[in-house]
Symmetry: C2
Subunit: 124 residues, 2 copies
């Protein structure tokens, strides 16, 4: 159903979009195991390249993503998840979306407000 073999490590990009607002929240990676777990549990599960293991989004912060719908692209090698983001913030830096900086001229401008303080959420 999905082509996991196009990129090294059997990883494909997975885009999470807010099911209600359409805001693009983040992009992460899935392997077959993460994809299967996501389908089985209805919660977004990615593959963490830095940690080299399954990343059950929200397992530390509580900010899980309830998956409403999943789509695949024409090449069956990219996933689009429509999710309900618990806690309202997908980004570990405290923003609703990881895309909180805009490219302007030769620099980046923060264009969103922080919804939580990362230190308070991750320092448990």
């Amino acid at each position: 159903m999905i082509d996991f073999e196009k990129l090294p490590g059997g990883l494909i990009p997975a885009i999470a979009q807010d099911a209600a607002t359409g805001q693009v929240l983040m992009m992460a990676w899935m392997n077959r195991e993460a994809f299967d777990e996501t389908r089985r549990t209805g919660r977004a599960c990615y593959w963490s390249r830095s940690r080299g293991k399954l990343w059950r989004k929200g397992e530390e912060s509580g900010h899980v993503q309830e998956v409403r719908e999943m789509f695949v692209d024409c090449d069956v090698d990219t996933i689009l998840l429509k999710v309900h983001q618990i806690g309202g913030a997908a980004c570990h830096e405290g923003y609703a979306s990881c895309f909180f900086r805009k490219v302007e001229g030769n620099g980046l401008t923060v264009v969103a407000d922080k919804l939580f303080d990362p230190k308070a959420v991750y320092a448990k």
Copy 2:
């Protein structure tokens, strides 16, 4: 400004989203050259992994993407483009979005209508 070195080949994922409707249209790849050209011209330019060269989206079909805004994620290794899609269809298969199939049960279901016939557009 952008970290192009995390993936082999200096490529990063670039997500194109319709600036007006919020629909996620496609995911493609950019290297530094594609990113710089996109900024310079205001039209989406990707890197085609299959063809091994710059892919000026719409160069064959005429369905160019006018870039309204660009964002980067927290890890500065993924791009989000908000675009105006000329012709209304981003997908080479004739759909508005490349994500025209939904994951349902153990299969995929087409959930969108074709806006053009690929044979008519690409057989020039």
